[in-house]
Amino acid sequence: MKFASQIINGLSLGSIYALVALGYNMVYGIVGLINFAHGDIIMVGGYMVYVAMVVAGAPLWVAVLASILVCAFTGIFIQQVAYQRLLNSGAPRISLLITAIGASIFLQNLFQMLFSSSGKSMPSMITGAPLNIGSLQISRVTMVTIAVSVLLMAGLQLVVKKTRIGKAMRATSEDAGAAVLMGINTKRTIVFTFGLGSALAAVGSVLYSSAYPLITPYMGGMLGLKAFVAAVLGGIGSLPGAMLGGYLIAVSESLTKAFGLSKLTDAVVFGILIVILLVRPAGLLGKNTKEKV
C-alpha cells in the first residue's frame, strides 16, 4: 500500500511538473530559449499567494487570480527587458542563456531581500476529507492537483490547436520569418506565449505550495530544473510530451523515495536526463529533426 500511495504522490507532483514543463516547452518551441527564469516564476507565484492571503487577508480565489496575473506580468516583463533586444538582434544563443540565468538569479535574490531567506509557511488552501479506497488514502490536495492540471492541459491543447492565437503560436514556432510574411504579429505572439506559460506556472505554484506548504526564494530552482528535465524527457517542443515527462519524472522520484533513498532523488532525476540524451535525444514524443544546411 505504501507503494501505491507513493505512486499517487508521484502523479500529483507529476501534474505540477507537467504544468511547469509546458511553460518551458512553449517558450523553447517559439524562441528556442531555455528560459531559466521560468522556475523562479513559480516562486514569485507562491509569494504572491502568501502576500494576498496572509498579509492582505484576501480569500483564496483572489489570491490565485492575483498570483496568475502577477506571474504572467513578470514573465512578460522579463521577456521585454531581458530577451527582446537579444532576440531581435539575433545575438548568439549563449548571450540569451546568460541573460536568462541573470534573470533567474535576480528574482531569487530580490525575493530573498524582500522576504528573507528563511522561507514562509503557507496557510492551508485546499481542505476537505480525504478519499479512502480500501486502505489507500488520497488527500483532497492530491485530487484537486491532478484534476486541475489535467483540465488545464486539456484547455491548453484546445487553445493551441483550435484558436487563432494558437495557430499563430504554432506558425511562429515552425518558422518565425515565414509567419511574419503571412501577416502574423510574431512579437505579440511571443509575448502571449511568455504570459501563458507564466500563468500556468502560477497555477502550478499554487498547487505545489498547497501540497508542500513552505515557500523559499530558492524553491524555483530545483523545481524548475526537474520540470525542464521532464520537458526534455517527453520531447522538447511537444506538449503531450511535457505531460508524459512530468509524470514519469515524478513517479520515478517517488519510487526512489519509496525505496528509502530519498537523499538521492535529485541524482536519479539527472541520471535519467543523461540517459535520455544518450539514447533518445529528441525525447520520447519529440520529432527527430534533421538539420538542413
Binding site: 549563449i94 538569479i105 537523499k263 539527472f270
Partner: protein
Amino acid sequence: MPKNKKSSYLLTLALVVVLYGVSAFLVASGRINKYVSGILVMVLVNIILTVSLNLASGFLGQLVLGHAGFMSVGAYASALFTLNSGLPISVAFPLSILIAGVVAVIFGILIGIPALRLKGDYLAIITLGFGEIIKVLINFFDFTGGARGLRGIPRVVDKSSGISVEFVKFSYAFFLAVLTIYLITAFIRSRHGRAVIAIREDEIAAEASGINTTYYKLLAFVMAAFFAGVAGALYAHHLGVLNPAKFDFNYSVEILVMVVLGGMGSITGSVVSAIALTILPELLRGFSDYRMLAYSVILILVMLFKPTGLMGGYEFSLSRLVRKLRGKNKEKAEQEKVGAAK
C-alpha cells in the same frame, strides 16, 4: 616572424619572473600578512577557474553552469589522496594536483559525451544538474565527510622543513596559474584552438570544413574541467577544510560572471576580472548581501549592451605595448631590453 615571436615570449617571461620575484619576496619576508597572502592565493585560484571556463564558454561558446562542480570533484579527489596516501606531502601534493585534474577529466567526459553530441543548449542544463548531483553525492557518502565537510587536509609543506607555508602555497598557485594561462593561450592559438573558435562561429560551417565538431567540443570542455580540478586541489590545500555547500550553483555563477565581465574570448579580460572580482568583495564586505543581486544585474546589462564582455576579444600583449612606446626604432631597443632581461 619567429624572431619577433621569440623576443615577445622572452619579454613576457621576464615580466612573469619579475612579478613572481616581487610578490614572492613580499609573501616570504612577511611584509604581506597571512590574510592578504590568502587573498592572493584565492585570486590565483579564481584566475585558473576563470581562464579555463573562458575556454569552454568564451572560445567554444558552450554555457557551462557547473564549473564549481568540477572544482569540487578535484578538490575532494586531491584532499582524499593527500590524506590517505601516506607519502610525504612535498611528493603527495603535486601528485594530488594531477589526480584532481584527471578525476575532473573523467567526470567531464562522462557528462560531455551525451551533452556535446547534440546541438543546442543541453550542456548548460546537464552541467547545472551535475553540480547539484555532485553536491548531493558528497553529502550522501561517508568517505567525503558528508555535510560536515572534510577536515585536516595537510598543508602543502612540512612544518619541520622551516619553509614558510604561505610562501610555498603562493608559489604553487602562481606557477599553476601561469601554466594554465600559458597552456590555454597556446591551445587557442594552435590548429586545435582555431577549430574550437570555428565551432563557436558557425558549427555547421565548421563541420562542413571537415572539423570533427564533437571531438573538439569535448576536447575544449574536458580541458576546462581539468583546470577546474587543478584549481580545486589548490583550493583544498589552501584552506585545509572542504565544505560541500561552498561549491554550489552560486559559485559557478560567480566564475561565469568573471568570464562574462572580462570578455568572452579574452584571456586578459578573464585575468583582470578574476583579480578585480576577488578583491572587491573583500573590500566591500558590508555589501555582501547585495552581491548576487549586483552580479545578476551585471550579467544582464553586459549581455544586453556588450554581448562580448567588457574587453571583447582584446588581448594584452607586452611586446605590442613596448613597440608602441618605442615607436619606429623599436626593433633595436627591444632586442637590447631582451638582452638585459636575460
